[in-house]
């Protein structure tokens, strides 16, 4: 009898199908297949359970989820609670005369003309709070999308507005935690009521499809069609974030009550049961808080890592700090390397934000000369990845800035390997310095020899007093690889000390001794008081430069 029912519908389908193909693309054949598939699926479910769930306000897609049903069925726009009930209604009447079936037909929404094919559920689902019914709040406005396709259209429009090179995308969804609570409470309820029945034996909660997965199943195919590309692992990530204003408070109370329960099986279930009622009673659809689209560079997948540009930089001024340095709303120093460089690259790449990372840094009053210090600028959500020629342009622009504070060279766009280079540069690579030193007694020729004789000399440095307020008090052993004194014409108390040290050595403290807390120091080596007036970094010994 059920077959006959279907036969009737089949003959109707082609007309409906024609209508659909005229108004909506790409759904002609699938519309027909969808209907059949839906029938099969629904009829495979225990109808009394489904009816029970429908009665407590669970939407059709959530019912499918709970039963672990997979596939494209989710994106079918025909799927709604009323559709489910009528299919179930058919089942009951399947044994009756065909005559009766005829009169049922007009009540069946599947036979409705194409324009009303999908009926929007008026009531929000208690489990997914409307997420799988494509209902959400966007900026305090209730948005109801008729189907997965409509929602996909909205998303793809957002995407196309800003991004032009789309060759793939990956879809991610984040939902408020309360949905998980709701789900486990409904599941427990089902289990208690129907646990003894065959259909439930051996089914576990994890076998259910999560709301997240279901939404992705709904949207993936339509988005693929609209954007004309495949979904999967990609540097373009579409993140849909749903939040619920009341959700966090409710979750807290649920958690508290769970803790309060005794560890007996029934105890916990009782607790969940009471929570179940309160959850059901207070439905508000969730806010689609955020649809963010992030682009990462070069196919790397770690947290949507943004694009990086790397090049060594030289700092010519003694009044430029590495990063923005503002105390009490007042800027210290004239400018900062990070702002000069990052601020010029960001507009070129049309990104949202930049982060500046360097392989180590120097004080504001220390100049970075010579080969320069390698660093990385991370551009977040770069919409335009510059070509090699463009990168050269950026380099020239920075170098020709009016105040000539910073110079950069060897600009390059890099992927995640840039990070390893940075870490290496900071912790492992040797640095070379030139310090202007004054000593309390005249310089002797023997001093030049004795200083030059020290190779790979070990130095014990206690955390310098000038950073002791924010660093751990430790004693660090560092190596001074070599030193060389360069005399200054016209003075026998001043000289230029060239030295090459291990990464992390405090040079200033090595010269003046930091009240004896760095030992040996230039002063102790020369047997007198030594002071440092000026420090310049002359080389950062990185292999790639």
């Amino acid at each position: 009898m059920a077959n006959d029912t279907k036969a009737v519908h089949v003959s109707m389908e082609p007309e409906v199908a024609h209508n659909i193909s005229a108004t909506e693309e790409g759904q002609d054949i699938s519309g027909y297949d969808d209907v059949r598939a839906l029938h099969d699926v629904v009829q495979g479910l225990p109808s009394h359970v489904v009816k029970d769930l429908l009665s407590i306000g669970v939407c059709a897609r959530c019912i499918f989820r709970l039963f672990g049903i997979r596939g494209d069925i989710y994106s079918c726009s025909l799927l709604s609670s009323s559709m489910l009930s009528s299919v179930l209604g058919e089942q009951r009447h399947a044994d009756e005369d065909m005559v009766d079936i005829g009169s049922e037909e007009h009540k069946n929404p599947i036979s409705l003309p194409a324009s009303e094919v999908s009926e929007v559920d008026a009531v929000l689902c208690t489990l997914c709070l409307g997420i799988l019914q494509f209902t959400y709040c966007d900026d305090k406005e209730l948005v109801v999308k008729k189907s997965a396709k409509d929602m996909a259209v909205a998303i793809s429009e957002l995407l196309k507005r800003e991004w032009h090179q789309i060759d793939s995308f990956s879809l991610e969804v984040s939902i408020p935690p309360i949905l998980l609570e709701n789900e486990s409470s409904v599941w427990l309820y089902m289990k208690r009521k129907y646990g003894s029945e065959l259909c439930f034996q051996g089914k576990l909660l994890p076998q259910c499809i999560s709301t997240v997965e279901a939404l992705i199943l709904c949207l993936a195919k339509p988005l693929e069609t609209l954007l004309d590309c495949k979904s999967g692992v990609s540097d373009i990530r579409i993140c849909l974030t749903f939040t619920h204003s009341k959700a966090s408070k409710m979750v807290h109370s649920i958690a508290v009550s769970k803790h309060g329960c005794k560890r007996t099986k029934t105890g916990i279930e009782n607790c969940i049961d009471s929570v179940d009622d309160s959850v059901v009673g207070d439905i508000e659809c969730s806010d689609l808080a955020d649809v963010t689209i992030q682009r990462s560079f070069g196919g790397s997948q770690d947290n949507g890592s943004p694009q990086s540009l790397k090049f060594p930089s030289e700092k010519y001024s003694r009044n430029v700090s590495q990063t923005r340095w503002i105390i009490d709303d007042e800027r210290k120093g004239e400018a900062s390397v990070e702002e000069i460089v990052g601020g010029n690259i960001l507009p070129m790449c049309q990104g949202d934000n930049y982060k500046f990372h360097a392989a180590g840094r120097e004080d504001i009053d220390v100049r970075m000369l010579g080969s320069g210090r390698p660093f990385l600028v991370e551009i977040q959500n770069a919409r335009h990845i510059p070509s090699e020629a463009f990168v050269k342009e950026i380099e020239t622009k920075i170098n020709n800035l009016e105040n000539k504070l910073v110079e950069v060279k060897n600009l390059k766009a890099v992927g995640s390997e840039g990070w390893d280079l940075m870490r290496e540069g900071e912790a492992e690579k040797q640095k070379q310095y030139a310090a202007l030193v004054w000593i309390s007694r005249p310089l002797k020729d023997e001093d030049l020899e004795s200083i030059a004789s020290f190779k790979d000399m070990k130095v014990l440095q206690r955390t310098p007093i000038r950073v002791l307020h924010r660093r751990s008090p430790l004693e660090r052993e560092k190596i001074i690889h070599w030193m060389k004194i360069e005399k200054i014409a016209g003075s026998n108390h001043y000289f230029l000390l060239h030295l090459c040290t291990q990464a992390g050595t405090y040079i200033k403290e090595f010269v003046h001794g930091d009240l004896g807390r760095t030992h040996p120091s230039v002063g102790s080596l020369l047997g007198c008081r030594a002071e440092i007036l000026q420090l310049d970094v002359t080389d950062v010994k990185m292999d790639c430069f």
Binding site: V467, L468, H469, I488
Partner: protein, 207 residues
């Protein structure tokens, strides 16, 4: 070095332009030349005696007759709030014949030299009051207690004084410091009110 590079530049002739290797070499020399010019100062611009590290980075305060007469101590305060405590040059201990013989950190309830302060938050640091004893300075004639002067956490004591008490004679204002204290901003303001600046201290002691 500077003289040498000047000589090379004079020898520059057309053979350099034609030879790429020499061009690269020349370029490198030019770069180094440029670096030299940046690095080397003109001796005429340099001060005869530059300010010391302490003078540049710390503000000096003095506590004359702290608790007891003649016990003059200094408090050097760094811009980051840390205070270095030590004996001022007019401290009575320096007047004893024979000089300072020993420094003992085992005073009060614990040996200050064995405290280990760890971490950025300075765990285990003991909170000291201004009159808490830091150490005992011994001479042939007697012993003198050196106190905190400022309320705050004790970060470090100069344990080198144990082996080298002579540091107090050679450089009490540098390598001979006694301890490093970290006061809270409010406590510092209170302490500051009782301390003298360098000029006032010099006037008081006629030095």
């Amino acid at each position: 070095m500077k003289d040498n590079s000047v000589d090379d530049t004079d020898k520059l002739d057309s053979s350099v332009q034609n030879n790429p290797t020499r061009q690269r070499q020349q370029h490198k020399e030019d770069e180094e030349d440029g670096l030299q010019r940046l690095l080397l100062p003109d001796a005429r611009d340099l001060p005869l005696i530059p300010p010391s590290a302490v003078e540049s980075n710390f503000v000096s305060y003095f506590a004359p007759d702290f608790i007891k007469p003649g016990h003059d101590q200094y408090v050097y305060r760094h811009a980051n709030g840390l205070c270095v405590i030590g004996l001022a040059p007019t401290h009575v201990a320096f007047k004893d014949s024979g000089g300072i013989t020993a420094v003992d950190f085992n005073v009060g309830r614990s040996d200050r030299s064995v405290i280990k302060v760890t971490g950025k938050r300075k765990k285990n640091a003991q909170q000291f009051e201004p009159n808490t004893a830091l150490c005992k300075v011994c001479t042939n004639d007697g012993s003198y207690i050196v106190r905190c002067c400022v309320k705050g956490s004790l970060l470090e004591v100069n344990d080198r004084l144990i082996k080298l008490p002579g540091l107090l004679h050679s450089s009490a204002d540098r390598e001979g410091y006694v301890a490093i204290i970290m006061p809270k901003p409010a406590d510092w303001l209170k302490a500051k009110g009782l301390l003298l600046g360098l000029e006032a201290y010099k006037k008081l002691r006629d030095c």
